[in-house]
């Protein structure tokens, strides 16, 4: 299955996977991913939303648009069918405006995840040491605070455990001031599964899973981006 997503993309000359493809890949690696469906039309988006239950989020699915939220391609917290319909129209218009030549597959419909601590997991390749995993506070924090830790793949349990505790924001994961704490063991398991997946999938060049919402009893990846090597 993973190899099929990758080979299809490469066959059509793409190295950037769509959100839906990226999520399928990491879900196949055993990481918890929020239920996400591709809808190619407005009516499909509405019916998928109804089936999932509101509120939902809509995001444009296009290999040519990488920064979805910057270009107005993301609508969050849609509470009913009418809002979903309107959002669909707006997202499509925004996509066209951002890049008139963009090839648009449709929109992804996903259930809104309840709030939790946002973390990021990612991978990039170092010229000398190969794949390196990253963990840190997610969402916009990763861009502003750069509060992240790294480990060389493959990771052992101790690496996963240490890198989570290494970030300055670790107290936030422990449940700062009565907030729901994050389950650290689940995050460690995810890092180990990701390490294992990266080790077995040399076709992947870079990857961001951001954010992952971490709860006391679970965690779920809400967005993901996978970039492939042009050649292996």
């Amino acid at each position: 299955m993973p190899s099929k997503i990758i080979s299809n993309a490469l066959k059509s000359g793409r190295t950037v996977l769509t959100e839906v493809e990226s999520k399928q890949l990491i879900s196949g690696a055993g990481l918890p991913v929020i239920e996400t469906k591709l809808a190619k039309t407005k009516s499909e988006a509405i019916s998928v939303s109804k089936k999932m239950g509101f509120p939902v989020a809509l995001k444009v699915v296009s290999p040519d648009i990488i920064h979805k939220s910057d270009s107005g391609g993301v609508k969050l917290g849609l509470g009913n069918a009418a809002q979903v319909g309107r959002a669909y129209t707006e997202v499509m218009a925004a996509a066209k405006k951002a890049n008139p030549k963009a090839k648009v597959h449709g929109v992804s419909v996903q259930k809104m995840a309840r709030p939790g601590v946002e973390v990021i997991m990612g991978m990039s390749k170092d010229d000398q040491f190969g794949p390196v995993l990253m963990f840190g506070l997610g969402g916009v924090f990763v861009e502003v605070l750069k509060d992240v830790a790294f480990r060389i793949v493959p990771l052992v349990r101790r690496d996963a455990s240490q890198m989570i505790r290494e970030i300055k924001g670790y107290p936030l994961l422990e449940g700062y001031r009565g907030q729901e704490p994050a389950n650290i063991t689940i995050l460690e398991d995810m890092l180990l599964k990701l390490s294992d997946f990266i080790d077995k999938t040399p076709e992947i060049k870079e990857l961001d899973i951001n954010p992952i919402l971490a709860y006391s009893d679970s965690a779920v990846a809400v967005d993901a981006r996978v970039i492939l090597e042009t050649q292996i």
Partner: protein
């Protein structure tokens, strides 16, 4: 992923422990630096030089000269080549025919100059050496140092005694300085190598060699880059679980912007990845020669630090405030002592004055009193027995002239300090410079003679404690997994 082969290792063993050394191309213009550095060498030294004008100088040094390596009648274990670069391939060919243990090329002017000729010559000697399995060290380096048998880079280096610290440096300057400055600080080398351009043998090969060397208990490394990052990572992880490895990575800002489309890619720049590698493998990262020396010194002379509670003693009220600031700023704790400790301190602080919370403030007059040594011992013992304290730091101030000048006053204090160090928790002395470099140096030397190397500022001591406390913590975590 290649590993050092058994035959490479055996030959490297010959090169590190040679019975005979040949210097090719030493000359007046270099002040015969290589032949002079080998004046201490216990084995046989040969010179190879074809320039007739150099022969009298070589003969004056009492060294036999030959016109070719191949003319030397007995086996040669280690060769130092200081020849013009164009001659390098011919010397490599001779080394292969002579079946030497290893050859170090002091010669520079290869790929590091980024000239066509330099790059071509480097490729030539690399291919020749690889093909013949020759242990080529360098080029552009000062090669091997084995003080026990008097094999040196320069006549300024110590010899005759075997230490326990192995040092691996890309740069000859850092290898030489580490050994010379370290010696003054009680750091003695087992074996050391400067490996320059690393065309055949790289840092990883020497790391493996020193990992298996029984004389080497601690390994220090100065690295600018490695040829095979994965191999280095794998070996370092294994070696660091057996011996402390301290790494100083030079050139951290070498990499410019890279094309990347992910947050992770933007953030994972080279300096951070190196930091990650060092930490993940359980090695210790330092950022300068000073930090390297402080860290190795603490590994040698300070017992494992298993907590961050500091018990500090300074030589005046002003110094107490500053030492507390510095240690706290570094992220260490300066806890209150137990009630029982304060009761015990009260008993004799009434007599001598000063203040006793933590840091304890003692005046220099206190040490110079007749019972100075016993008061100091009592005070140190109270800190040693206090459960809140993990590491004890004593400042000595060079205004106490007797410590350096007058043996009658100094010896009892130095004895008290030596005795205490043996039985105590981790214990460290700082000799601050105060008003006189000369007096401070004198005092530091005196302590080194007693086997108690000191640290030269609050900042350097505090950072060393912090680094070591983190290292021992990670070692404990490693052993639990």
């Amino acid at each position: 992923m290649t590993s050092t082969t058994q035959s490479t290792r055996n030959k490297l063993d010959r090169a590190f422990n040679p019975r005979s050394v040949a210097v090719v191309g030493d000359k007046q213009a270099l002040g015969y630096m290589w032949l002079r550095s080998l004046s201490s060498f216990q084995g046989k030294v040969y010179s190879v030089q074809i320039d007739p004008s150099e022969l009298p100088g070589i003969s004056e040094l009492g060294v036999e000269n030959y016109l070719s390596l191949l003319d030397i009648p007995s086996p040669v274990d280690y060769v130092i080549a200081a020849v013009p670069r164009a001659v390098a391939p011919a010397i490599v060919a001779d080394c292969i025919k002579k079946d030497v243990g290893g050859v170090c090329f002091f010669t520079s002017g290869f790929a590091e100059t980024n000239t066509e000729e330099g790059i071509r010559l480097q490729q030539t000697i690399t291919d020749m050496a690889r093909e013949a399995d020759l242990n080529l060290i360098g080029p552009n380096c000062v090669g091997l140092y084995n003080p026990e048998i008097g094999l040196r880079h320069t006549a300024a280096q110590a010899y005759g005694e075997k230490g326990s610290v192995g040092f691996i440096a890309q740069s000859g300057t850092h290898a030489t300085l580490f050994s010379i400055i370290g010696e003054r600080d009680g750091i003695k080398i087992s074996k050391s190598v400067s490996y320059g351009n690393a065309v055949v043998l790289d840092s990883t090969d020497f790391l493996e060699y020193l990992a298996d060397d029984d004389d080497t208990g601690i390994i220090g490394m100065y690295i600018e880059g490695v040829k095979d990052g994965r191999r280095f990572f794998d070996r370092l992880r294994k070696v660091a679980s057996r011996k402390p490895v301290v790494i100083w990575k030079g050139g951290e800002s070498e990499e410019g912007a890279r094309a990347t489309a992910s947050h992770t890619g933007v953030l994972a720049e080279s300096g951070i990845v190196w930091q990650t590698v060092i930490r993940q493998c359980g090695a210790i990262k330092v950022d300068s020669l000073k930090e390297m020396i402080d860290t190795v010194k603490a590994l040698l002379y300070v017992k494992p630090i298993n907590g961050t509670g500091m018990g500090l003693i300074a030589m005046s009220g002003g110094q107490s405030v500053v030492i507390a600031d510095v240690f706290a700023r570094t992220g260490l704790e300066i806890p209150l002592l137990t009630e029982r400790s304060y009761q015990r301190l009260a008993a004799f602080f009434n007599i001598i004055g000063g203040s006793y919370r933590n840091p304890l403030d003692i005046s220099s007059t206190f040490l110079m009193a007749d019972d100075g040594a016993s008061s100091l011992t009592s005070m140190l013992d109270i800190l040693n027995q206090d459960p809140n304290i993990d590491c004890i730091v004593l400042e000595l101030f060079p205004v106490i002239r007797p410590l350096s000048k007058d043996a009658e006053t100094a010896d009892p204090i130095l004895d008290a300090i030596s005795d205490f160090k043996e039985r105590a928790k981790p214990f460290m002395i700082i000799v601050t410079t105060a008003h006189s470099d000369a007096l401070a140096t004198e005092m530091r030397d005196k302590l080194v003679e007693r086997g108690i190397p000191s640290f030269s500022s609050f900042e350097r001591a505090a950072r060393t404690v912090k680094r070591l406390a983190e290292f021992y913590k990670s070692q404990r975590e490693l052993s639990q997994n």
